[in-house]
């Protein structure tokens, strides 16, 4: 098996278009393919894939593989694992990239085990080793306290890539590429886990993941009531409220507000952290913010190592004055 070549990006489609994470994979995948002197391919699973295929070519894929099957259109994860196993066996890529989102964080490891190869989960940096030509994947470990660089000893080398760790590939409609249909055989019996219901929990206010400003609270708030104060500041700034995991686990606010490694990873322009100590687990979720502002009673708290501006003291006194001053300034 020495003939594996190229980088294969596993694409995802949302409303007929490429998911933003797929364009991020095409960007970093293009860089890796270039350093290997090999080609960039994308695979799309589902049905009605032609438009997304053209989009992948405009984002740099030299070849797009379309795997169409009714069971894939329904989004069964078991079916996707089986399909990707077959696609990898046919296309023989050297590297496979998958977005580490809701789907990819399960799909990646299961595919790797199915193929009997290794995987680096949650990569935030990727490069090719100059000598061995192996993929070097850098990933946060110990909740983000440390970084590990991992290589995979057999091919394909698979990495799931943290969303927003790389910029999305720019579209260039002049780029050319071929679209190829690949046959996949998926017996209905492979689908063992079924989604019997999808529940969308409606939330008031600005969507946390798309918000330009996020005002977040942590363990230091001491209870659920202060989140109303954060909500007031967030409304003033047209932003959303977030929370650290301890605040969610304590039941002060719903887990859907959780920012962090196992919560939401967000990239607002402004992140205001109130009563958050700044554990690495939490920082993993907000380190992509352009500016972090911290209010915390402990001047030694880790959050001040991440913040650009801060005030150390009692948030119960700092925050109302801060909010009032913001209200005046925005008049």
């Amino acid at each position: 098996m020495a003939d594996e070549t190229g980088v294969l990006v596993v694409g995802e489609i949302r409303d007929g278009r490429l998911d933003p994470t797929t364009r991020e994979l095409l960007n970093v995948g293009g860089t890796l393919a270039k350093s290997l002197g090999q080609s960039l391919q994308a695979v799309l699973l589902g049905s009605d894939l032609a438009n997304a295929g053209a989009e992948a070519i405009a984002c740099g894929a030299a070849r797009v593989l379309l795997a169409e099957h009714p069971l894939l259109g329904e989004g069964h994860l078991d079916a996707r694992v089986t399909a990707l196993q077959q696609v990898c066996q046919q296309a023989k890529p050297a590297i496979v990239l998958i977005a580490r989102n809701e789907v990819g964080r399960e799909l990646g490891p299961r595919l790797a085990f199915r193929l009997g190869v290794g995987l680096a989960q949650d990569a935030v940096a990727l490069s090719v080793d100059g000598g061995s030509k192996r993929l070097l994947a850098t990933r946060p470990v110990y909740g983000g306290n440390a970084m590990a660089v991992v290589t995979m000893v057999c091919k394909p080398q698979i990495a799931t890539v943290r969303p927003k760790a790389f910029a999305a590939a720019e579209k260039n409609e002049a780029l050319q590429g071929e679209v190829v249909r690949v046959p996949v055989e998926i017996p209905a019996s492979v689908v063992k886990t079924r989604v019997v219901q999808k529940v969308v929990e409606q939330r008031a206010g600005v969507n946390l993941e798309g918000a330009r400003v996020v005002v977040a609270g942590g363990r230091g708030l001491g209870g659920p009531e202060p989140f109303k104060e954060l909500e007031g500041l967030a409304q003033l700034l047209g932003g959303a409220v977030g929370a650290s995991r301890p605040a969610c686990d304590a039941g002060w606010i719903d887990h859907s507000y959780q920012v962090g490694l196992t919560g939401k990873i967000i990239t607002p322009d402004l992140y205001i952290a109130v009563g958050i100590s700044g554990a690495s687990q939490h920082i993993s979720g907000c380190s992509g913010a352009k500016v972090i502002v911290a209010i915390n009673n402990d001047p030694e708290a880790n959050i001040f190592k991440e913040a650009r501006y801060g005030a150390a003291g009692d948030w119960k006194k700092i925050l109302p004055a801060f909010t009032e001053a913001v209200r005046e300034l925005l008049k």
Binding site: E106, L119, D122, A146, V153, V196, L270, A279, I295, G310
Partner: protein, 264 residues
């Protein structure tokens, strides 16, 4: 007969270790625990244990805990027993000190094969040390059973495992026939605290200990990954701390500073 459950629990460095006390050894590529600090049971595995206990209470059954590592602190690794598990199997061997998910899942699969028939495997969504989130999913693949990932609620109904899986905007209800594997996330809720009686019961139970020789596995050819570096990223201190006459004044001046910097 109830639901025959297997719970995988890992002993990890306490994730509450302050960053200032967190050290790594770049040679061995391992974290170095602060002197005198005890490890803990991985928090997500405690959430999984809570899920197992809820199933045991509603549907009946047994919980066998398996833990894999090079060495264990007895008071730490027996915590699931004190919470209400029936048995503990320790997979203990120098060879089990690995960060390779394929090796870990293969050892766990071999141990589960040796334990015998089961209905449900429960695991935490990931371990708080290496955050791989691979072993449970890989274990389901190696065992050839369905996988239900990221559960915030678990049930066993009519020979099926049913979970609520967290999603970014709500949850999905998933179902799969037994035997199956479930990973549990912290949204399930706080795990129960062992009672005095639980602690006394646990102290009387003697764990089964298996080494590599008991499992009939050759680990040398199994690893699929190599760690080439482990380091603590440099953090530059560049925070501008705003002070004032008192805390309220600092709050006002912080707002003015943000306006000055054209941030608000």
């Amino acid at each position: 007969m109830g639901v025959r459950m297997i719970l995988c629990a890992k002993q990890v460095l306490d994730p509450e270790t302050p960053l200032s006390a967190f050290k790594v050894d770049r040679e061995t590529k391992r974290a170095v625990p602060p002197p005198g600090a005890d490890p803990v049971v991985n928090g997500f595995d405690e959430n999984a244990m809570e899920a197992a206990l809820q199933i045991k209470e509603s549907a009946g059954g047994t919980i066998t805990v398996i833990s894999m590592g090079r060495s264990f602190v007895t008071d730490v690794i027996t915590k699931p027993l004190a919470m209400g598990a029936d048995d503990l199997v320790l997979l203990q061997d120098d060879a089990f000190d690995t960060t390779d998910s394929f090796v870990v899942a293969s050892v766990l699969a071999a141990a589960i094969g040796k334990i015998g028939a089961f209905d449900l495997v429960l695991c935490g969504r990931q371990a708080s040390d290496w955050d791989n989130a691979q072993v449970p999913l890989g274990l389901a693949e190696l065992l050839g059973i369905p996988c239900l990932n990221l559960a915030k609620k678990v049930e066993v109904v009519n020979g099926c495992a049913r979970i609520e899986r967290i999603t970014t905007d709500g949850h999905d209800v998933l179902e799969a026939p037994l035997p199956a594997l479930i990973t549990v996330t912290n949204e399930l809720g706080e795990p129960r605290i062992p009672t005095i009686k639980g602690l006394m019961d646990a102290a009387r139970k003697k764990p089964t200990v298996w080494g590599i020789g008991d499992l009939g596995l050759a680990l040398s050819s199994l690893a699929k990954t190599e760690v080439v570096d482990l380091f603590i990223p440099a953090r530059e201190k560049r925070c501008e701390l705003i002070s004032g006459e008192d805390d309220a004044d600092a709050g006002r001046k912080l707002a003015l500073k943000l306006r000055e910097a054209k941030i608000i």
